[in-house]
């Protein structure tokens, strides 16, 4: 009978996989990283920001926060686009959401403050 219990348990586990539960809303974050390296010409920072901001709206709808690094990544894009206010906002959000990032975020924020 032992094998039967095992079979039932594993089947249940596999069935549960149909709706994977994650801690975070991932959206396009990692695929954007991929694309920004592989096809940078096709995806300027402006478009990346647009896609990420859409993902953010979706995360608010599902009430699941953005993953570690996400706000910092968006802040960095805003910085590249010459939008220091938005950059500061996102870097500060990263720091507030994940205190582990404080040292690095302070370093990046110091760069943003430079003219």
């Amino acid at each position: 009978m032992k094998w039967l219990i095992w079979l039932v348990a594993t089947t249940a586990a596999v069935a549960g996989c149909a709706t994977p539960r994650t801690l975070y809303t991932w959206g396009n974050y990692e695929e954007l990283i991929y694309a920004s390296y592989v096809t940078p010409d096709k995806l300027p920072p402006e478009s990346q920001v647009e896609i990420l901001e859409k993902d953010y709206q979706q995360s608010r709808a599902t009430n699941k926060r953005m993953p570690p690094g996400w706000h910092a990544h968006l802040g960095y894009l805003y910085y590249q686009l010459g939008k220091p206010d938005e950059a500061r906002r996102e870097l500060s959000t990263e720091k507030a959401e994940f205190p582990e990032s404080a040292v690095f975020m302070d370093r990046l924020l110091a760069n943003v403050h430079k003219p």
């Binding site: 348990a9 594993t10 249940a12 586990a13 596999v14 069935a15 549960g16 996989c17 149909a18 709706t19 994977p20 539960r21 994650t22 801690l23 975070y24 991932w26 959206g27 396009n28 974050y29 990692e30 695929e31 954007l32 990283i33 991929y34 694309a35 920004s36 390296y37 592989v38 995806l43 896609i51 993902d55 993953p67 570690p68 690094g69 996400w70 910092a72 990544h73 960095y76 994940f98 582990e100 990032s101 404080a102 040292v103 690095f104 370093r107 990046l108």
Partner: protein, 217 residues
């Protein structure tokens, strides 16, 4: 456990790989890990030993999700990469040489994940092709330079579709709005990572943001 119980992706993968092979792995010795349990992990671009140049970022863009979903703070991989490049480290090789106490000072990271990409790409056969990814990783404490955990993993997927179930389950967590059609090994990296971090008694223990934190891996 019933079918409606939310099951983390990692657990599913573990269950599936158990189904697939009944492989016996030697339990990992977590003594060092328990002595310096990290909260935050900085992942550097992989050292690429494969012949595929695109492997560096094809892989790097798949490793945040499994480590973060395991419960760790993961530094933004692209920001870290570009920051280091702007600060005189143009290649992964140079980044891997940075003294760890310097990494801690600059970023505050508790640990660094060093990835070596042993193989990345496709093998072409007469009727189909197989994408294959092989990696080995070391997680090192930035303050004491202690090796906390290490692992190896490989995954492959043939274009004719074997192993699709596993890949689809992982892909279900991610939106595929930006397509990566020309690089099947990019997808296979996710498969290799899922097996790597959730490797039962040899995987990465759960971190502080995981509901399974402080339970056995």
């Amino acid at each position: 456990m019933n079918a409606r119980t939310p099951v983390p992706v990692a657990l599913c993968v573990a269950a599936l790989s158990a189904l697939g092979g009944c492989q016996t792995t030697k339990p990992y010795d977590y003594t060092n890990f328990r002595a310096h349990p990290p909260r935050s992990i900085l992942i550097l671009p992989p050292l690429n030993e494969s012949t595929a140049l695109e492997g560096t970022y094809g892989y790097l863009s798949t490793v945040t999700l499994p480590v973060a979903e395991h419960g760790y703070y993961v530094f933004p991989v692209e920001v870290v990469d570009r920051f280091l490049k702007e600060n005189g480290m143009p290649t992964a090789g140079e980044m891997h040489q940075v003294p760890l106490n310097r990494v801690a000072e600059i970023t505050g990271a508790d640990a660094v994940l060093f990835v070596t990409l042993e193989q990345y790409g496709s093998k072409y056969r007469v009727l189909n092709s197989t994408a294959i990814v092989k990696v080995r990783v070391k997680l090192v404490d930035t303050r004491t330079q202690t090796l906390l955990w290490e692992g190896r993993s490989e995954a492959e997927q043939s274009s004719s579709g074997s192993g699709n179930l596993l890949a689809d389950l992982i892909a279900a967590a991610i939106v595929q709005a930006v397509n990566s059609k020309t690089d099947p090994a990019h997808k296979v990296s996710r498969l290799a990572n899922a097996k790597l971090f959730a490797a039962g008694n040899a995987g990465l223990p759960y971190g502080p943001y995981s509901p399974q934190y402080n339970k056995e891996p």
